[in-house]
Amino acid sequence: MAVYKRNYTAYTGAVTPVWTRVLVLARYAFEEAWASKVTVGLFIFCMLPCLVSLLGIYLANNPLARTLIGDHSGRTIAIDARFFLKVLQVQSWLALVVASWIAPRLITFDLADNALPILLSHPISRFGYVFGKFIALFGSLSFVTWIPCLLLFLYQGYSSPVPWTASNVRIAAGMFAGSIIWIAFLSILGLALSSWVKWRVVATGVIFASVFVPAGVGAIVSAVLRTRWGLLLNVPVMMSNLWQRLLGAPSPINENLSMPTGAIAIMLALACCVCLGMLNKRIRAREVVRG
């Protein structure tokens, strides 16, 4: 307790523009996400495949290093679209792990303590609230997807003795676009599911389940109805199709598992719409009790 009485004084200083309040939310959410040691541990874990890929690129471009490690076979790792597709796939699935850990931290703390009435009584809209959290999650996932992927691409361009970069720009564009689509989808999905589950551990499980359980359902649908459209519920297959086409890599999967790009885009858009509907229903300052 203060030893002397304090008086209230009105604030007379400058006020920040309204649009910057979203960035305040994003900054606090980002700090909240990265305050956890588990997040830092996950990030380090996500960098391990990148280090292995970096080593691969180094060896592929450095015959002397290959000789020094005793590789006299003369075979080199091909650094091409297929290589970067593998890198992107690994990083993207690691991003799912990171998203399922971070997303519940961003939303459930607010919901568990009923903080929305206070948060939304400030000059911030419901859209602004979700967008601020989205920025934080999207930014965090960027550190494990397109940023390391493009850094590896740049290193390959730097290390390659031939003018490799100019002829492979599509790979970089494909990795960037593929990562952006995936982490945007993951961010919306993670926030929507977290907003409906108050317990963080359960929310983490639900996010994983939402990606893999529909794949099983889709397989059953395909088997029962003897159709391949059940694959539209299989997120891993859909995304593999999309990434392969964006990078221009030869198809690594069975032709029977191929889906039209338009159908994949529509399915992702539909999933995002459902998630936005869930957020719209849940992120409210007040619940209206019906009846």
């Binding site: 307790m1 203060a2 304090r6 008086n7 209230y8 004084t9 009105a10 604030y11 007379t12 200083g13 400058a14 006020v15 920040t16 309204v18 309040r21 305040v24 939310l25 606090y28 703390f109 607010d110 568990a112 303590d113 009923n114 903080a115 929305l116 009435p117 206070i118 948060l119 939304l120 009584s121 400030h122 000059p123 911030i124 809209s125 409210r284 300052a285 007040r286 209206v288 009790v289 019906r290 009846g291």
Partner: protein, 313 residues
């Protein structure tokens, strides 16, 4: 111009009319919002904050429409909700700073104001503790601190003494009085405790069934309400009655020497004793009272909804 201006405000939620044609202008420094459960107090507050869209009519705060200008209005409002509402895993100072930044303060100013606000409400020593570890009274105070930190023009307090023990309640009431006395903040206090409103407010809006049952200035109402007195006398009651009528009192006599009086402001009990002494009348018992907020509230509850004491409809 009033702080809050309601023009035929109607709010429907889940196909139910919760606020029905509210019209009135609230001008007081501290406005009390009274009413039984389900009267629409919280709905009115939520509408003023822009959480609910009016189905008819308008509500204005500082002349701005609560729906169209909600961002600007919220920038000038500090809101302390009724129920628990905080971020439990944040420290008190971080939580208040976060809210101040959302209200528009720069990061540095928000930190400074957060410390000041927490010291002001008496949580200075525990400001680095997580909010989830606070007691109920502390949680109420941290909600008040976050509502104050950005220097609002209007402070909305929804049941501020809810769940507080008598000491914590007195402290909260004293804080509200201090804020009111400082003068830069208008207050809107919702409570079902008449005593809280009586001690802190100068204007009261009483809601009943989603309508305005009464809208009045408590001070003016008290001043205009006459003093009532009941006497039990022995002696020449008739003559005594004539004499006190001569002072300007309204009297009614009853068997057994009982007299009921309505006395003007300039007449004191001493004057009655003087007359009684001159006329040899004994005053055995004297009860004097003025209208309290309770009387105003009970009268409003008895009245048909839609009538106001000092407001327009």
């Amino acid at each position: 111009m009033g702080i809050i201006d309601l023009q035929g405000l109607e709010v429907r939620l889940a196909n139910r009319t919760v606020l029905n044609g509210l019209t009135g202008e609230l001008r007081g420094q501290a406005i009390g919002l009274l009413g039984p459960n389900g009267a629409g107090k919280s709905t009115l507050i939520n509408t003023l904050l822009g959480f609910h869209l009016p189905s008819k009519g308008t509500a204005r705060v500082f002349g701005m429409d609560t729906h169209k200008d909600r961002a600007r209005i919220r920038g000038g409002i500090g809101y302390m909700p009724e129920n628990d509402s905080f971020i439990g895993n944040m420290s008190g100072v971080r939580f208040v700073r976060y809210m101040a930044e959302l209200a528009g303060l720069s990061s540095e100013a928000a930190l400074e104001r957060a410390h000041e606000a927490l010291f002001y409400v008496g949580l200075g020593e525990v400001r680095y503790r997580k909010v989830s570890t606070y007691s109920l009274g502390m949680k109420q105070l941290v909600k008040l601190a976050q509502a104050l930190a950005h220097g609002p023009k209007l402070l909305i307090l929804d049941e501020p003494t809810n769940g507080l023990d008598p000491v914590a309640r007195l402290r909260m009431i004293q804080l509200i009085k201090d804020i009111r006395k400082e003068g830069s903040i208008r207050l809107l206090i919702s409570s079902h405790l008449l005593r809280d409103i009586d001690e802190t407010c100068d204007e009261v809006l009483i809601l009943k069934g989603g309508r305005i049952a009464s809208l009045c200035n408590i001070e003016e109402e008290r001043r205009s309400n006459r003093s009532f007195m009941e006497l039990e006398t022995v002696g020449a009651t008739e003559r005594f009655t004539v004499s006190i009528r001569g002072l300007g009192c309204e009297c009614a006599t009853f068997p057994g020497g009982r007299i009921k009086l309505v006395i003007p402001d300039n007449i004191e009990a001493r004057d009655l004793y003087v007359i009684a002494s001159e006329q040899g009348v004994q005053i055995r018992r004297m009860n004097q009272r003025r209208d309290s907020l309770e009387d105003i509230f009970l009268r409003a509850m008895d009245n048909d909804p839609g009538r106001t004491a000092n407001g327009s409809l």
